[in-house]
């Protein structure tokens, strides 16, 4: 419950705090909102993966999964997908709603929704990789290792908003993110399962 509700509440907290803690006029709120939105998604995903494997590692469930005949990378991919369905999708829907509420711009908010869906899945995969690397060594190390990998995605997200605002190339940014996602969701489960097996050794 904590690992499900915690990241969503963190996201809501940042979104609600934004208009309360800034001195912009109502029509200027849009200026810094999108950057904050992407950073909030990034932080929420980081927070959600903090103990994704720790409990299973501590109680011996990971060992049981590894010796079972089920494919371990497949189990990892399934776990990431469930986290995305439970946390990534609600946060993406909230992103749309907060974007609409704060910027009152329906078209940008609609464009933003698929970007939020894809980016949350990408961030989730990246932070799962970081968490696996720092399993039983604290999540800070993992976050530090993963952060440089997340920066290019943040840059693409930032540029995509400019593209939407100027009405250019939006689809290309979306396809670029989809391309990144397809590579990441294929590779990360294998790397993560290898890293976890190394930890268990």
């Amino acid at each position: 419950m904590r690992s499900w509700l915690g990241p969503i509440l963190l996201f809501i907290l940042i979104m609600v705090s934004y208009p309360l803690t800034i001195e912009f006029l109502e029509q200027d709120l849009e200026k810094g909102f999108y950057s904050l939105l992407w950073i909030s998604i990034l932080l929420s995903m980081m927070f959600s993966t903090e103990d994704i494997f720790l409990e299973d590692y501590n109680d011996g469930s990971l060992e049981q999964i590894i010796i079972s005949s089920t494919s371990f990378p497949f189990m990892v991919a399934k776990k990431i997908l469930i986290y995305w369905l439970m946390i990534g999708i609600p946060i993406s829907i909230l992103s749309f709603l907060f974007s609409l509420g704060i910027t009152q711009n329906l078209s940008i908010s609609l464009f933003l929704f698929p970007m939020a869906l894809i980016s949350s899945y990408i961030f989730l995969n990246l932070f799962v990789f970081g968490t696996a690397l720092s399993l039983n060594k604290g999540s800070v190390l993992g976050a530090l290792i993963t952060m440089p990998l997340a920066l290019p995605v943040l840059i693409v997200l930032g540029k995509s908003i400019i593209a939407i605002q100027f009405g250019i190339n939006y689809l290309e940014f979306l396809l670029l993110l989809l391309g990144c996602l397809s590579i990441i969701i294929t590779v990360v489960p294998f790397i993560v399962s290898y890293v976890i097996k190394t930890h268990l050794e």
Binding site: E55, D59, E63, Q64, L200, E201
Partner: protein, 191 residues
């Protein structure tokens, strides 16, 4: 590898921080056989179990698994979710609510604790709950690391009888134990 063997180890060795834990260990476990790995604390019994399971890699030698091998394992960690109830844990482990499970729950004295969270059970009760997974397994190799620790004499009897019966049915057993048991086993002593 002998075709009747489920697991065969050939001159395996393991080191921790450069210190030899064990070396030149060879054994085989066939269907209907039990192997008791014994030795003092720190002699590498649990490590050898993990090598057999394929979780830890030996530094020397080879370990062969039969293609038909299907392992059920209970180690020091019992793979239970402390914050869930006994019945939720059973469901999570895919143990169906059939007669066999109900009989075992009654036999092990767990039936009245179905709605109790695992964190509120004693260590022995948690161990019995974890052993249910082994009792209801369909595998052909059972691997247990100190299965009798935390069990009262009645529960130990039940576990022993179950394991002897499984061996008679043609399953293989590999276990470590400091507690004497009546299981007729080959002994591998790690010094």
């Amino acid at each position: 590898m002998n075709i009747k063997s489920l697991v065969e180890a050939d001159n395996i060795a393991y080191k921790i921080n450069g210190n030899k834990l064990f070396h030149n260990i060879s054994f085989s476990v066939k269907k209907g056989e039990a192997l008791h790995i014994s030795g003092p604390n720190g002699s590498g019994k649990s490590t050898l179990i993990r090598i057999i399971l394929g979780i830890t890699k030996q530094i020397k030698g080879s370990i062969y698994h039969s293609k038909s091998i299907d392992i059920s394992y209970l180690g020091h960690k019992n793979a239970l979710k402390n914050y869930l109830s006994v019945s939720d844990n059973l469901m999570l482990q895919g143990l169906s609510n059939d007669n066999e499970l109900n009989n075992l729950l009654v036999l092990l004295g767990l039936k009245k604790f179905l709605d109790v969270t695992v964190a509120n059970l004693s260590y022995g009760q948690q161990k019995k709950l974890a052993l249910l997974r082994i009792f209801l397994n369909k595998s052909n190799l059972i691997v247990l690391d100190e299965p009798f620790v935390g069990l009262d004499s009645d529960a130990q009897d039940i576990v022993e009888k179950f394991l002897i019966n499984e061996i008679n049915l043609g399953k293989a057993l590999v276990y470590t134990s400091h507690i004497k048991s009546n299981i007729d086993s080959k002994i591998l002593n790690l010094k």
